[in-house]
């Protein structure tokens, strides 16, 4: 076995410098703050002995000790197929990183590093949020040695084929293109207007323009505003004359506002997604869009982890849907960087199977056998909403008395209806290459995860699940966003869940994962 390497002695220096940098600002603030406060030196700290600032250095001692411990304990070793890093005096850790899993070896060398002839090496694999090993600092020669070990046993062609693409730029097949009409429709359906109107409202309010306008509008004409609402309440409560004309004007105002929001959203779509075009160039999907800022994004098909199809009520009425993909970066790119990219901001349902087939060859959307969740799922799912209903009703009863019955009935109706629809729209399916999950009543979402991109399969059972002999199966893929729709199937029969998890993990185990 090859001998172990230690860090370069200059490590001590660099680590201390890093700690010093971190301490410098707070220490400075304390010193300045103390000397400037009212009663001379010491100030609010009472009477401090002269030169007390030196004691701040005591705070340095733990940092110094950890630095020394790290330096003394750190060992680096190259085995036949893996990099072995040992560290820690008290809490000892030994990390084995297979060469074949290493995506990237970076070296950082700043001016001071160069002065000492050392480098900071960062080793990245696909896992985790940060680099797997930060070797600070090693002699310059160690970097070459590391590269030789890590990449030596690989063919140089293992690197991504970016250079090959650059020389010949074939024009690919256009899969999705949004003409003006679809673009406006997309803006209308996406309804980004609220966000923009909200931002505009905030900006106008801050600058005081809105306040003036509001005063002139409500005070000048007396048409709407306080007077109107007072009349309205009087009409409802005390049988006063109902201000029908004013109600009409107010409703028209609300309608005009909603239309305005949609128009703003359409303008947004026009500017942001102008001339949206999705093309396939060999094994990559390319999207291009934007009126002023032209965005060009490349999505290598093999890096697609999940595909999500989403549609709202209007989408379904117009036979449209939106498609997004999630990809995870690989070699060259930032490690495991999560990217969420439009495949189609708007697509006709009829064109959906063809688009999905581009990403998942052989996948037939129509042939997917959707399976429902457990028959008793509704009885389980309705309980938390019922508890919420009870709490809200109780609160309402304490404040508005008997009218709480109306609140209770309305909420009950909504919760039961909503839950029934939610459960009815839950579904999952399992194909040769994908596992799919759909959910949502008003906004429906469907996510397809490729089996060869599954990282881990987990089956969860809460105490409630166990009482009902149910379980939840969650499929973990790389690069899933915090709020993205994932394959996470609740309310499955325990036995069904167990078998599904087993099949998926066996299937995943038998396919090699590639970035």
């Amino acid at each position: 076995m090859p001998s172990e390497q230690r860090l370069h002695p200059a490590t001590l220096l660099f680590d201390m410098a890093r700690h010093a940098k971190r301490f410098a600002l707070p220490s400075l603030l304390v010193i300045v703050g103390a000397s400037q406060s009212s009663s001379g030196p010491g100030g609010m700290f009472g009477r401090m002995p002269a030169g007390w600032e030196a004691w701040l250095l005591v705070l340095f001692v733990p940092a110094m000790l950890t630095t020394i411990a790290r330096y003394l304990s750190f060992r680096l070793r190259y085995d036949d197929h893996e990099l072995v890093i040992r560290s820690g005096l008290i809490f000892r850790n030994e990390r084995h990183v297979p060469f074949s899993r290493i995506q990237n070896v970076d070296a950082v060398q700043n001016v001071v590093h160069r002065l000492f002839g050392v480098v900071e090496i960062r080793v990245e694999t696909g896992g985790g949020k940060e680099e797997e090993a930060r070797l600070s600092v090693l002699p310059r020669s160690a970097f070459d040695e590391m590269r030789r070990h890590v990449f030596g046993e690989r063919a140089p062609a293992a690197m991504p084929d970016t250079e090959a693409e650059a020389e010949a730029e074939p024009t690919g097949e256009t899969l999705v293109h949004l003409p003006l009409r679809e673009l406006l429709l997309c803006g209308f359906l996406e309804n980004k207007g609220m966000v923009l109107v909200g931002a505009a409202y905030g900006a106008l309010w801050e600058t005081g323009i809105l306040g003036g306008a509001w005063d002139r509008f409500s005070g000048g004409t007396e048409l709407i505003g306080r007077g109107f609402f007072r009349d309205l309440i009087r009409a409802v409560v005390d049988d006063g004359p109902l201000p029908v004309g004013r109600i009409g004007i107010a409703l028209a105002g609300v309608a005009a506002f909603l239309v305005l929001v949609r128009v703003v959203s359409m303008v947004w779509a026009l500017v942001r997604l102008y001339d949206f075009r999705l093309t396939r160039v060999r094994e990559d999907l390319r999207t291009e869009y934007g009126l002023f800022t032209r965005v060009t994004a490349t999505v290598p098909i093999r890096r697609v982890q999940t595909i999500t199809v989403r549609s709202g009520p209007l989408h379904r009425w117009l036979n449209r849907a939106t498609v997004r993909v999630e990809t995870a970066g690989g070699a060259g790119a930032k490690s495991a960087a999560h990217v969420r990219e439009w495949l189609a901001p708007l697509i006709r349902r009829a064109g959906l199977p063809r688009l999905l087939q581009q990403v998942l060859p052989g996948f037939d959307l129509a042939a997917v056998a959707w399976q429902p969740v457990h028959p008793r799922a509704f009885a389980r799912a309705v309980k938390p909403p019922l508890v919420i209903t009870a709490i809200v009703t109780l609160g309402a009863a304490l404040t508005i008395g008997w009218a709480a019955i109306a609140v209770f009935l309305l909420m009950l109706l909504w919760m039961v209806l909503g839950t029934r629809q939610y459960v009815a729209h839950l579904g999952w399916a399992e194909g040769d290459e994908v596992v799919a999950m759909r959910s949502g009543w008003i906004w429906q979402q469907m996510t397809l995860a490729r089996v060869n991109k599954i990282q881990a399969v987990a089956m969860h059972q809460s105490p409630f699940d166990r009482r009902a002999a149910m379980a939840r199966v969650r499929v973990d893929t790389a690069g899933a966003g915090e709020f993205s729709h994932r394959v996470d199937i609740p309310y499955l029969d325990h036995e069904v869940a167990r078998r599904l998890a087993e099949r998926l993990s066996v299937h995943a185990a038998n396919t090699a994962f590639r970035w």
Partner: protein, 176 residues
Amino acid sequence: MLRCRVAEDAPVADGVDHALDPRVIPRQRIVGGIVIAVIAAGSLLGLGIGMLAEDDAPGWLLALQPVVWLALVLLGAWHAYTWPARHYRHTSYRVDDQGIEIRTGVFWRVVINVPRSRVQHIDVSQGPLDRRYGLGALVIYTAGTDHAKVDLEGLEHGRALRIRDYLLPLGAGDAV
């Protein structure tokens, strides 16, 4: 659930559910004891300062505070003593040629399956208490999101090393 203890040199990938090393129970009790002791000492300090500051509070309230404190500390100590054994009973793992399956959780149960081909790298770590009991923690890293890091604490150290060596790919050919 099937459990058995295997001889030292038996292969790790036997496809059988294994419990953790039973020495994890005293180890976890010590950890829990330390945590409870620190919390108890800290809260006692706070309680003492509070009682000194409030001299106009009624006597029964002053008398009640230490009683509540003692009750909570005893409850915590009881939990720290009994929990490790319960947790031990509900934790198991299985290694086979596909990968590793870890079951854990007393009330909220989870079964995590990590295929061997998805393991990115593995740590085996040992703290001072682990060394005293000959234990080690296996930490498996994948490229996933929720389970980017899968822990299995309380294995016999040598066994943790053998599982690690088994799960890691042998050569470059395995990855592609």
